[in-house]
Structure formats: C-alpha cells, structure tokens
Symmetry: C2
Subunit: 212 residues, 2 copies
Amino acid sequence: METYTEKTQVHVAAEQIRTLILDGTYRPGQPLRQEALSERLKVSRTPLRHALQSLAEEGLVETVGFKGARVARPDPNMVRDLFDMRLLLEPLALKSAVAHHTKLDFARAEMALDAADTERDPHRLSQRNWEFHHALYRPSDRPTLMRTIEQLNRASAFAEAIAKSIVIRSEKSAAEHRELLEACRNGDMDGAILHLTKHLQLAYHDIQNLEY
Amino acid sequence: METYTEKTQVHVAAEQIRTLILDGTYRPGQPLRQEALSERLKVSRTPLRHALQSLAEEGLVETVGFKGARVARPDPNMVRDLFDMRLLLEPLALKSAVAHHTKLDFARAEMALDAADTERDPHRLSQRNWEFHHALYRPSDRPTLMRTIEQLNRASAFAEAIAKSIVIRSEKSAAEHRELLEACRNGDMDGAILHLTKHLQLAYHDIQNLEY
DNA sequence: GTTTCCATAATTGTATCCAATTATGCAAAC
DNA sequence: GTTTGCATAATTGGATACAATTATGGAAAC
C-alpha cells in the first residue's frame, strides 16, 4: 500500500497567502514582509519564501532582488490579454473534450455548480468555478494545455477578485454555466463552444466596467 | 545613482541547471539529488531548492512530495499541445505588434539571427531564437500575453533539445526567420502571420519525425 | 533650506543543523 | 522461494543562525 504525503508546509502557506490576497486582506502593491508573514502563519521563513516564490511565478505577487515581495497589481491590459488567451485556448480544450465526456464528468460539473450556489467567499467561489470548467475540459486528456489554461484562470480569478466581479456576477455566471453544461449534455459541440465563448466575453465585459 | 543587484544565487543556479538539462548532460527522468548538485554548483542546498522549484514551475523538472526532483520527461502530446497553443497565441502577438514595429526592433531581430548563425550550443541557440521572436512580438506592449508565450517557448525549447531538432533544423529555421522578418519590414502583416504560422507548423512537423 | 555622506537599523539571501519522510536490505515466517 | 516486517541508511523538508544588501535617519557641508 503506497502512501502519499504531499502536505508540505510550502503548499499550505501558499494556499493561505493566496486566500489572504483573494479575500482582499492584502491589497495590490502591499509589501509582504517575510518575518511578519512567518509569525502570522506560524511557519518558518524557509518554506514561506518558497511559497512566495511559487505565488510569484503564478503571477499573484511580484518579487524583486533584495527588496522583497509585494502583492501584484493587475493592469487593465492584463485582463484583456488573459481573456483574449482564454477565448483562444478554452474552446480548443472543450472541443477536444466533448467526444470523451461521460456522465461522471457532467456529475462533477453539476456538483461544482451546486457548491458555488451557496458560496459567498470569493476564493472558494473562484475555486468552484474552476472545478466546473476543469470538469468539462479535463476529458480532453491534454495536460499541457490544461496547465496553461489553469494558470490563466488563476490569474483571471485574481483580477476578478480585485474588481469584486466574482461575487457580483455570480448568479449570471451560474446561469451561463448551466447553459454550457446543458449543451455538453446534449452533445451539441458547436452550441457548447458558442456558450463558452459568450460566457467568457460577458465575464470580460463585466470586469471592464467594474475596475478603474 | 541607483544600483541593481538581481544576481541572487537562485538565478545563477537555475540558469546552470537549465543549461545542464538542455545540453543533455542530465537526461529526462534522471533524478536530481540536492547534495550532489549542491556540491557541483558550489551552492548551498537552500538556494538550490529554490532553483529546482523555479524550474519545476517552468516545466523543466518534476518534483514530488518528499521524493525529490527529476528531469521532466516530455511526451508527444506535450509537443502537440505546445504548438497548438503557440499557433493560436503568437499570431495574435505579432498582429498586435506590427503597427508599432520600429527600425530598432528589426535591428534587434537581425542581430539575434546573425548570432544564431554561428551558434552550435543548443541552449544558447534556443536563446537566440527566442530573442528573435521576442523582438518581433514585444512592440505589442502586451506583457501578460508575452509572459505566457515565453513560457510556451521555453517548454518548446526543452522538447526540441530532447529531440535534437534545435541544431538539426537550425538552417531551415534561420531561413524561415528571415522570410518572416522581411515580411515585417515590408509592413505585410498578412504575409508575416502566414510565414509565422508556416514556421511553427514546420518546426512541429520536424520534431514529430525526430522524437520516438 | 537642500544635499551629500555615512552610520545604523531593518530586511532579505545563504549556510548549517535538526527533524520528518522515504528508500534499502536483511532476517524471519510461511 | 516469496513475502512480511523491522531496523538502518539515504534523502528531503524545515528551523535557526549568520552574511549580504537595502532602507532610514541624522549630521555636516554648501
């Protein structure tokens, strides 16, 4: 019987910091001092630095030379770029996946939707949203493509959290998600891709109008 | 007078390991023991671990729980996914950039081409290739898009190094590059995008036929 | 009053040591 | 002969101490 460990302090620290940032506790541009964070998260500075570096490569924090780490500040262009890329890549993932969709995938997607309905915490809400998209994309069995798409979704979640659009448009998003799921259930690939495209465009539009 | 430091041991260690991997010194799947690497690079294990993590998020090495790090093993699907994505994203970057191209950009691109002509080291050759593409994409002034494209190019360079196609098709690649540059110089956007697309498709094709 | 310079403090990066986890090998049981 | 179990070694993760770098503040010069 093989046993998995995986729970290294780096991951839990990264997850906690991620939550603090997406909750708005730490605002964009705010410096993240290692000693203070170390004390707050009850973790030594060594794994903390690893976590900060991980978040830096994820795009959530910026880290410079010997100056330290700050919460990243998303610019409007970033939002445009992210959605331009998602509009190109996610339809490809969906297209590759529809032929391999199973009832289990649909069940997973629906579970994520139901969980999202009763969720008000921004971070967990964005997690549910990703779980939904992930359930529909994953059957494509293209991990490299998935990896990039997940990165873009994480960054989008950050931008949406800043603009507070995640919670504001959660009902609209839920409706769009259910339409997309229904099209997938009916095996309507073209319709599904159309719904996905529309969903992304609407999300982009709403973020644009909220952020300054 | 402000002075920049930036030269942290993590970066130099990461760069050295990157070179060792792309040179073929460390083969895919080979375990990377911290103590041995620490001794080889004359660096403590702490910054070394950071470098390994950085390379892991870059996709060059795989790192699991308490088991350690290994050189990543690219699968054929990864190559397909990478080029599918590049074929979607790089034309967008080029399209956004052509309107802002200056003589300086063309000069930079040509300098990269000339440097590539006399370069046989795989790692440096792939660096030159990226410098060329970077020179043509950068005027788009879309850093978030550039960031993702650079990640994909790094991963592609890894796959090409494994398949040894970087050096093998270097002359072909150079010719394609010069055609692309010429189209950009003439302000022929459609032609440039066509050349870029063809270039990526040919590179993909040649890798496919070389890897097993 | 402003600027420059230097000393000091605050903060990050690195090295070393210890703890936790995993891999290895051998003996005993069946 | 194979397998199970445990003891030991090898390796990674984490905590602490130290070194390097940057930021801060105040005095002196103009």
